[in-house]
């Protein structure tokens, strides 16, 4: 059992939760994730370790409530428990001094790429972080990100804050301005990672993406997390989650992520029904 120590709402449907997990906190490196199961009938889901405090023995996760398990997780408050947290899993980010690094985080991806950005910044890189969201109210972690990069740029799709447009447009401007970019890291929705990779490829700028395939065990035992990279099937959990963005078959990844769409909808409806029943009971 793993104790929830704090919970905070960052934006609509996005929460940040701090969990007591001393062994993971001590071991984790940038780019790694945990497998988490809230309760006994629960499903195992992968969540990135957004931050950790080895002294306090805590890890921080940031998640978006998209379906049954993340919604359930969203109901946990400080003092509640999570049944299983296994990790740190996946390869850590390859960190070295590359020179100038552009780190792109879209939506929730800002939180997922946070540790990567921080590690690259601490390794002495000049890190330009481009963070983006659909609109201002959905933009998360702006203040935190400022502390772990050299320059911060903000974009919103609707122009309600920062640059009006997509983060890829900001990246294009950077490239056009003639700045030498040694590495691009993109974390976020699959279409964003695909778009960034497509943009950087003709310039030959090395691009790393952190993939989010469906996972079950995340120990290399099932192959649910198969992704095609450079024409070869790789297991995302033990060989990733980070891959060369120019080699990834994003179309396949998008399709595979929809495998359980129907059943997920059913589960979601079940969750909402159960919650509204509980709320009714509390009212009574």
């Amino acid at each position: 059992m793993f104790k929830v120590l704090a919970k905070e709402r960052l934006a609509e449907n996005i929460y940040r939760t701090v969990i007591e997990a001393p062994k993971i906190a001590r071991k984790r490196k940038a780019g790694q994730f945990v497998m988490l199961r809230v309760d006994e009938p629960g499903e195992r889901i992968p969540l990135t370790i957004s931050d950790a405090d080895p002294e306090a023995g805590t890890i921080t996760i940031v998640f978006q409530t998209v379906g049954y398990t993340t919604k359930l997780l969203g109901t946990l408050e400080a003092g509640d428990y999570v049944l299983d947290v296994a990790g740190p899993l996946g390869h850590p980010t390859h960190v070295e001094k590359f020179g100038t690094v552009v780190s792109i985080g879209g939506g929730l991806g800002i939180a997922l790429g946070r540790s990567i950005t921080e590690a690259l910044y601490k390794a002495g890189n000049h890190v330009i972080a481009i963070i983006s969201a659909r609109n201002k109210s959905l933009l998360i972690l702006e203040e935190e990100m400022k502390k772990i990069c050299s320059e911060l740029m903000v974009a919103t799709d609707d122009g309600s804050y920062g640059f009006h447009g997509f983060p890829t447009q900001v990246l294009q401007q950077l490239i056009d301005s003639g700045r030498k970019i040694d590495l691009v890291v993109a974390v976020g929705p699959v279409p964003l990672m695909a778009a960034v990779s497509k943009l950087t490829k003709p310039y030959g700028i090395k691009t790393i993406v952190s993939l989010n395939p469906i996972m079950v065990d995340a120990t290399g035992m099932c192959g649910a997390c198969r992704v095609t990279v450079g024409g070869v099937t790789r297991f995302g959990c033990v060989e990733g989650p980070e891959f060369d963005g120019h080699q990834v078959d994003y179309d396949e990844l998008m399709k595979r992520l929809k495998t359980y769409a129907e059943q997920e909808k059913e589960m979601d409806a079940r969750f909402v029904a159960a919650r509204s029943r509980e709320i009714q009971e509390v009212k009574r």
């Binding site: 062994k23 071991k27 009938p41 192959g223």
Partner: protein
Amino acid sequence: MTDSPTCPEAHDLKAAKKIPRQKMPEREPRQRMKHFDEVPMGYTPELAQKEAKRCLQCKKPLCRIGCPVEIDIPAFIKCIVEGDFVGSARNLKEYNALPAVCGRVCPQEDQCEKVCILTKKGISVAIGNLERFAADYERNKGTITLPKIPAPTGYRVAVVGSGPAGLTAAGELVKMGHEVVVFEALHKPGGVLVYGIPEFRLPKAIVEAEIDYLKKLGVKIEVDAAIGKVATIDELLSNGFDAVFVATGAGLPLFMGIPGENLCGVYSANEYLTRVNLMKAYNSHYVTPVLRKRRIAVVGGGNVAMDAARTALRMGTEEVYIVYRRSRSEMPARIDEIHHGEEEGLKFMLLTNPIRVLGDEKGWVKGLECIKMELGEPDSSGRRRPVPVQGSEFILDVDCVIMAIGTSPHPLVPMTTPGLKVTPKGNIMANEETGQSSKEGVFAGGDIVTGAATVILAMGAGKKAAQAIDQYVRNKVRVS
């Protein structure tokens, strides 16, 4: 004759031969398809005693040679004849920590029962069924007693992986007075016994009971602990463990490398079985999803293929095909399982090999292109090599494909342990008798060493390694 019975009055050959082998009652195929209850229901005491009486109580029992852990088979059977069922179970446990499991899943027809003297004369004693009976009897009666544990030795041993090899080693080591911690990457201990072998063949309550027993003996089990990640083998050794036993299994599933294998609806058997067994997708109370398709092809001919196929039938699949490239006589699955599968309606597409998975525009499986095979010259395994028949391609109308063509060694520990020698296939190299690896203080056994094998062989390796580890830690000069 070497097989002269010890007590000819009770067990004379002629009388024994008159008793037919007692069949274990089974659930009807049509009835059992609706749920995941165990198919064979176990002997009643009467049936067990009748079967036990068939054993000739050989002075030099051949059956023991066939058993990888050399259970004293005539002795435990004799107890059953005498009505001392609990005594029988205790006798079994001196050799085998998991008799209720082995009685169910051992390939007895290739081991103890194959060499039982009665096999030559007709049909062997049902050793596995009897083993299961005695173990179940003891468990159900709740008469399990704990052995006396010697005073603590002060030595600490880490066991990595909680499958049959790890659990057996842990049990042996704790009984020698050592402190044992088992690390398991998943949230539940048991290895393949919990994530792979389905409920209808091995009820999970039995595995849980065996693990509870180990915990009562003092074995500590840490789940959610992937070694190589949360701690490396070297870190275990430098943080207070005197030795490590690596029993991480051969869990990495293989795929064929044919086009279309990453379409939605193509599973490895491990994924399909894990979703249904470990994550209990068959139970509507649980939330892990699994695809429920109408027509499924399972590729492969071993136990794993049979388990996936029979699971698929129970999940309500209309047609389940076994696609296997050789003929029936080469199928590595247990005869009982093939037979059960047949009764339940599996369709066998033998001498057939998949060459491509066909998909629709949304990325879903819509068929499996196969080619007919014929048997040519024998290959290195001594089996006749299947060769494709030119122009015999055809499309099997399925909407889901499960690949059950084998697994390779679990990579996490080899990847993260410098100095640990592995074979080109990734199996840890270890001494067959002791489990000693190329690295001081590190022992290994079970599927991670041998490649996918059997429960009883993994247990045998765990037992031998426990002996060697005991010697090793006692002889080790402690620097403190």
